[in-house]
């Protein structure tokens, strides 16, 4: 039999005004098992806590019922009081007589009656409480960062700087991501490569960081602190540790007609290639779809010219298995496909390009070596029209596009327009905008400079269609402020295409059991207070995989995610939530119902030997709950047909005791 103490709090007049606290304390004295009952003005105050501690000692209490405010307020306070006095903290139950009683009822008699019933329900539950100890699990002191763009690089660097091991997995042959493709960065106009490539080198040289380039995550198992991840290293047909990155093979490769994806297909590369000069790792990769040697067994020129002997046509995909304590998703974004937007003639004319393609056209390492030439005839464009919000801000019931604002387009369009006017003052630049959104440090000033100093023509309106006519593009759009329809003869049209999460993210989210929104952006644990954590423990978010972001925001989020990872890896053991599911092996019939409903894959089945009454043994298949993974929702307890599954802290018996007490 438990020895229960009941402590009724006045909460000043918050409770005492509508509940006769003395009467409640008195009424509870006659409950079975209650050996002590009292009231006090502020139970949560130091004096109140001391009162509880003394009562525990004096009356040898084994369970506590605190009649006070919501358990969401002070459950932890009172659990700590219990723990300090040598009682298991989970032997405390709170009867919520403030939020759910005194504050919602006006009549004192009614309030008192309800408070007594609530207290009785709590007493009934405490009778069945058992001491609970949170499970502990080891933490693997290594983090995995999925994605090697600026978000992934920064996260990995920050984690590595704190002294922990980090692995970066990147699907492309080089890290660097989208930022490596950019020319200049707004609003300061420093060159993207100048600020990114030192970071790429730094991360490659950091002894705590390993980079798996040209690799993919194929399987994720385990739980916070103990993830097991399978990484597929795709065959690049070049020995990574032997290749010196001299680039001789890429020059000699006779296959010259491979679209260069780094330049968004605006020029060609060889079948063996190094994406760009500052690639990390600077190692050649053979594209098996184009290489003659791999396709037909004829050629082998690269192997002949390679002085290091790095070419290996027999290389196979390799699977690596590694353990991690934390995983950071940093999978980034891509511009959307413009196939559905045929009014802009993107697929009809080479001179209608996306902003990312414009970035490559102006980049010194791009297909035109940084000279602004239009793709069709390599002439200087004299009139350029930029169109904003292409595919962003579309309504959910529209046939195409994304509902959200892509956030970065206003600024990069201003940047493109400004840089064009700066380098080529004889060019006319028009920008069609719906709104110019510049909420960032020095952003609006930047946009105003484009208009006031560089003479970019901003037109409030939208382009309705683009008609290729001869070597011109007729851009038909509205000027809402002038109430006119404009027809501009342009040489180049640049579309600020909406951005969307990388396609690999959906698959990854399933592997990580991390949730996503309808747009396939990862959801954060709390939109305001936990913006870099996924609701799944041990999974963190960095960069645009969580929502559209510019570079400064991405970097700060990357740092935030890293600090959360460091906080996790710094722990030797993780304490779990003790209120987890538990299966009674003797009752379990091995039906797998619980396994199927568990949203966390916390339940597995194991074969276990049981002693039978006739002294023989029998092997039965029974459910096993991994307490470190179980979050304690209780879905399995209801699914279990044999009643073997129960939830600690919220056992069926406990809840039914509460039901009984309330209905009495």
């Amino acid at each position: 039999m438990q020895r229960i103490g009941v402590f009724v709090c006045w909460c000043g007049s918050n409770i005492a005004a509508t509940v006769d606290v003395k009467a409640v304390a008195e009424a509870l004295k006659s409950e079975p098992g209650v050996v002590f009952s009292t009231d006090y003005q502020y139970m949560c105050s130091q004096a109140g806590q001391d009162l509880i501690k003394e009562a525990i000692k004096e009356h040898k209490l084994t369970g506590l019922v605190i009649c006070s405010c919501s358990p969401r307020m002070h459950e932890n306070t009172f659990r700590k009081v219990a723990a300090d006095s040598g009682i298991n903290p989970y032997m405390v139950e709170i009867a919520n007589i403030r939020e759910q009683c005194s504050w919602v009822h006006k009549d004192k008699a009614i309030g008192t009656e309800k408070a007594i019933i609530l207290a009785r329900a709590a007493v009934a539950k405490v009778h069945l409480n058992t001491p609970l100890t949170p499970g502990e699990s080891e933490v693997t002191k290594r983090a995995l960062v999925i994605g090697g763009g600026i978000a992934g690089i920064q996260t990995a660097l920050d984690i590595a700087d704190a002294g922990y091991k980090v692995d970066i997995v990147e699907t492309k042959p080089t890290i660097g991501g989208k930022m490596a493709q950019l020319d200049k960065t707004f609003p300061t106009l420093d060159c993207a490569a100048c600020i990114l490539t030192p970071k790429m080198v730094e991360v490659a040289q950091n002894e705590n960081v390993r980079i798996f380039s040209y690799s993919e995550v194929t399987e994720v198992g385990g739980f916070v602190g103990n993830f097991t991840v399978k990484i597929k290293k795709k065959a690049r047909y070049v020995k990574e540790d032997v290749c010196t990155g001299c680039g001789l093979c890429t020059e000699k490769c006779p296959m010259k007609k491979v679209p260069n994806d780094f330049n968004l297909g605006m020029n060609n590369k060889g079948a063996i290639y190094i994406p760009f000069a500052q690639a990390v790792p600077k190692v050649a990769t053979i594209d098996p779809n184009y290489c003659n040697m791999l396709k037909n067994g004829k050629c082998g020129l690269c192997a002949k010219v390679c002085t290091a002997g790095a070419i290996d046509y027999t290389q196979k995909d390799e699977i690596i298995e590694e353990k991690y304590g934390a995983i950071v998703a940093a999978t980034g974004y891509n511009p959307i496909s413009l196939d559905k937007f045929d009014e802009f003639a993107y697929n009809q004319s080479k001179d209608v390009i996306t902003s990312l393609e414009f970035e490559r056209l102006t980049n010194a390492a791009g297909p035109t070596n940084g000279v602004l030439l239009r793709p069709s005839d390599l002439k200087h464009p004299k009139t350029i029209v930029f169109v904003q919000c292409v595919g962003s801000r579309c309504s959910a019931d529209a046939s195409k596009g994304k509902e959200y604002c892509s956030k970065i387009c206003c600024m990069y369009t201003a940047k493109h327009a400004m840089l064009t006017r700066d380098k080529y003052p004889d060019t006319d630049v028009y920008v069609f905008y719906i709104d110019v959104r510049t909420p960032g440090k020095n952003f609006d000033e930047f946009y105003r400079r484009a208009v006031e100093e560089y003479g970019v023509h901003y037109i409030k309106g939208m382009v309705g269609k683009v008609i290729p006519e001869g070597d011109k593009l007729i851009v038909q759009g509205s000027d809402l402020l002038d109430n006119k329809q404009l027809k501009i003869e342009a040489d180049l049209v640049v579309l600020a295409a909406a951005i969307e999460p990388d396609k690999s993210a959906r698959n990854l989210a399933t592997m990580l059991t991390a949730s996503m929104d309808t747009n396939d952006f990862f959801t954060e644990a709390h939109p305001k207070l936990r913006p870099v954590e996924s609701p799944t423990a041990g999974i963190f978010l960095s960069g645009t995989c969580q929502g559209p972001k510019d570079i400064p925001e991405t970097v700060s989020q990357a740092g935030a995610a890293a600090s959360k990872v460091i906080g996790l890896l710094a722990k030797d053991k993780l304490k779990g939530n003790p209120c987890v599911a538990h299966s009674d092996e003797l009752m379990c019939n091995g039906c797998s119902s619980c396994e199927r409903v568990c949203p966390y894959k916390a339940i597995t089945y194991v074969d276990k030997e049981f002693r039978m009454p006739d002294r023989t043994t029998k092997v039965r298949r029974v459910a096993f709950v991994n307490e470190a993974v179980c979050q304690g929702c209780g879905a399995c307890t209801v699914a279990c047909p044999s009643g073997a599954m129960d939830l600690k802290g919220f056992k069926s018996k406990q809840i039914m005791a509460e039901v009984d007490a309330i209905c009495k």
């Binding site: 009014e343 919000c389 595919g391 801000r393 579309c394 309504s395 019931d397 529209a398 046939s399 596009g401 069609f432 719906i434 409030k460 309106g461 939208m462 382009v463 309705g464 269609k465 038909q476 759009g477 509205s478 000027d479 809402l480 109430n483 329809q485």
Partner: protein, 126 residues
């Protein structure tokens, strides 16, 4: 809400509040230069309840009903349906100024052919 506006919203099935005022409808309209009020103005003016100027405007009959604005509107507002609804409103109101059968004898003219009387009767006695 204004009765005219309510009627237009009901017959067109358009929610004018969805418009983000980008002007793509007017950017795309092939009869823009013929029109006094342009597609985006139709949406905006209906939203503000300024229906009468629209009903009097010739723009109503310049709209080709090509539905390019409907096809390209990023917010799926369907401006052409608004134009159509205003047009319908004008037609309906005109339909109301018919004659009753009792009014006809006073208007009869001795020279009027019998056939004209019968057809007028048919036309106005709906």
């Amino acid at each position: 809400m204004d009765k005219l506006k309510e009627q237009i919203l009901r017959t067109s099935g358009v929610n004018t509040l969805k418009c983000m005022r980008c002007g793509k409808c007017s950017g795309t309209c092939p009869s823009y230069d013929e029109m006094e009020y342009h597609p985006h103005q139709f949406v905006y003016m209906v939203e503000k309840g300024e229906i009468e100027p629209l009903m009097k405007s010739k723009s109503l009959y310049k709209c080709l009903s090509c539905f390019a604005c409907v096809e390209r509107c990023p917010r799926n507002v369907e401006p052409a349906k608004i134009v159509e609804a205003v047009r319908l409103m004008v037609i309906r109101q005109q339909g109301e100024n018919h004659l009753t059968a009792n009014d006809i004898p006073d208007l009869l003219d001795e020279d009027m052919p019998q056939q004209a009387i019968v057809s007028a009767f048919r036309k106005y006695s709906k």
